[in-house]
């Protein structure tokens, strides 16, 4: 029997993603890719895969998986989700060997909106335009261009070694700060008055429940562009903060359309996009302007993190209950130290 990961159940919005479908923006094709690039890269690195290798992006809807045909090395990294195998709790950032018959269950936990299941090996589904990234709006990538569903079988090939039992992953960079999300003004900040830009940065915004992989809508005051509601459509990047005709801002995320005709007041810097993505609907968020130099420095720090090995600490079964524990783990996952995003 060939090896596979099988979906026992999947909530809405769980998709296969990789580094994205690049090179086709000029034909209207959205790159898609992970909502939290750093978390997916960390998961992949923990099982020896390339940072942009195909992985499962788990939404707040959660997922249950079983291995078929072989024991599969997996890493789970992202928000603080509730992770368990056959009812035994695991830490939210973990590397494990999933044996056939064991049931891995991932559910929304204390914090965070997305987590990633990376495989030591390769999820072998047919790429579309060179990528497995799922973009459901155009039905491209993943499994038939759709979210994962109960009964989906993901063939896994080139399976890597399973390194012992479960191990907690030390990834302090994924303990995201509550600092304002940093953004670079433009490309249409001149459509807004200085007072409007100041107000945008002063306000505490709430992430709307309408938010999804395409956009995070911001609830708060109206920031109607002073110089007209429409522009001639131009390109849109992930992180673009577009203000609609009614003055409501939205941050365009991984599944955004490639062009748009509303003015964009600013762009969330790359290294803060994952931090924003992990905020759940109902969370409050603030924004602050930064300079390109700061954004590039944060990118450089992120690159250094991914170039280094990821520390894995073996877990031990706590004698009194079913929780697998490891002494450094809690501080490693939840402490606010070592935040690479700090200015």
């Amino acid at each position: 029997m060939s090896a596979a990961l099988k979906t026992v159940s999947a909530g809405p919005g769980v998709t296969l993603q990789d580094a994205g479908r690049h090179g086709y923006l000029r034909y209207g094709v959205t790159a898609a890719g992970p909502m939290d690039r750093l978390a997916m890269a960390t998961a992949n690195r923990a099982v020896g895969a390339a940072p942009g290798a195909t992985a499962i992006e788990v939404s707040l809807g959660g997922i249950e998986l079983v291995a078929e045909g072989a024991t599969l090395p997996l890493a789970i990294v992202g928000g603080a989700f509730d992770v368990s195998i056959d009812g035994h709790k695991l830490p939210p950032a973990v590397r494990l060997a999933l044996t056939p018959g064991a049931r891995l269950r991932i559910r929304a936990g204390a914090d965070g909106a997305w987590c990633y299941v990376a495989v030591g090996g390769r999820i072998d589904v047919p790429p579309v335009l060179g990528s497995n990234a799922t973009h459901t709006r155009s039905s491209l990538g993943g499994i038939d261009g759709r979210a994962l569903a109960t009964g989906d079988v993901l063939p896994v090939v080139d399976i890597g070694p399973c390194e012992g039992g479960a191990a907690g992953l030390t990834a302090p960079w994924l303990a995201r700060s509550d600092d304002p999300i940093r953004m670079i003004l433009g490309p249409q900040d001149d459509y807004f008055s200085r007072e409007q830009i100041e107000r945008f940065c002063r306000e505490r915004w709430t992430i709307s429940h309408r938010s999804d992989r395409m956009a995070y809508f911001l609830e708060g005051p109206q920031i109607a562009p002073a110089n007209g509601l429409n522009i001639v459509s131009d390109g849109i990047v992930m992180g673009a903060i577009q203000v609609l005709g009614d003055g409501r801002p939205m941050v365009l995320m991984a599944d955004r359309q490639v062009t748009g005709g509303y003015p964009k007041i600013a762009t969330v810097i790359g290294p803060d996009q994952g931090r924003l993505a992990q905020m759940r609907p109902g969370s409050s968020v603030r924004f602050a302007t930064t300079a390109i130099e700061q954004a590039v420095a944060a990118r450089r720090a992120e690159r250094a993190i991914l170039d280094a090995a990821i520390e894995a600490v073996p877990l031990v079964r706590h004698p009194s209950d079913d929780v697998l524990l490891e002494s450094n783990l809690i501080s490693g996952v939840t402490a606010g130290s070592g935040n690479v995003d700090a200015d």
Partner: protein
Amino acid sequence: MASVGEPIFLDAGEAALVVEFGRTVDPAAHNRVLSLDAAMAACELPGVVELVPTIRSLMIHYDPLVIDRTALVDAVRNIETAAADTRPVRRWTIPCCYDPTFGEDITQVADQLGMTPERVVALHSGATYRAYMYGFLPGFCYLGGLPKELTVSRRVTIRPPHPSGTIMIGAGMGLITTFAMPTGWWLIGRTPERMFSLAREQTFLAAVGDEIKFEPIDLEAFHALDRRAERGEVVATVTALP
């Protein structure tokens, strides 16, 4: 060079630079977008990741750890100054059925414009368009060159999804669609051609900058061509321009 002034450099974050040639729909600005796009593609500047031509600007995605903004802007200025003018090198003739079965808004459009539906068809199929940009969804092709007589404002409300292949007008432009989507534009016909098809070696047909014309066909011809297109055949015709 076209005389629309120096480009303006705008930042879309720390990894994308927008080179803007104008703020309106202007063929001269689009020409310069195409010239710079071609010149940038030819010189393969290290750190440049992807180029996205739109109606009035070129978006340059770059890796700021490879090339910094200042160096990129300097390079773009030099490349832009030296870039040769481009003009369309090929024309696609795309079959379009204007029968009210598909062009379900054609009477309404004609009424708004105070002309007959036949006149709408004659104007739409008589014009020569240019693929200005792709956007919204894969293969959604925005067309410049819509005759001024066909300028209609958008619908007041968004209508339910149109079929794929619907030909629409609105916002002073033409549009060829590829997916069924709700829209605020007006449906005037439908093409059996697929501007985007994964079932075909040539996934996308026209490049940004190509000329586009529509050839009226009747319902019978539509269904015959649609069957051929479904099998992966290209049913539009392409000619090289002198």
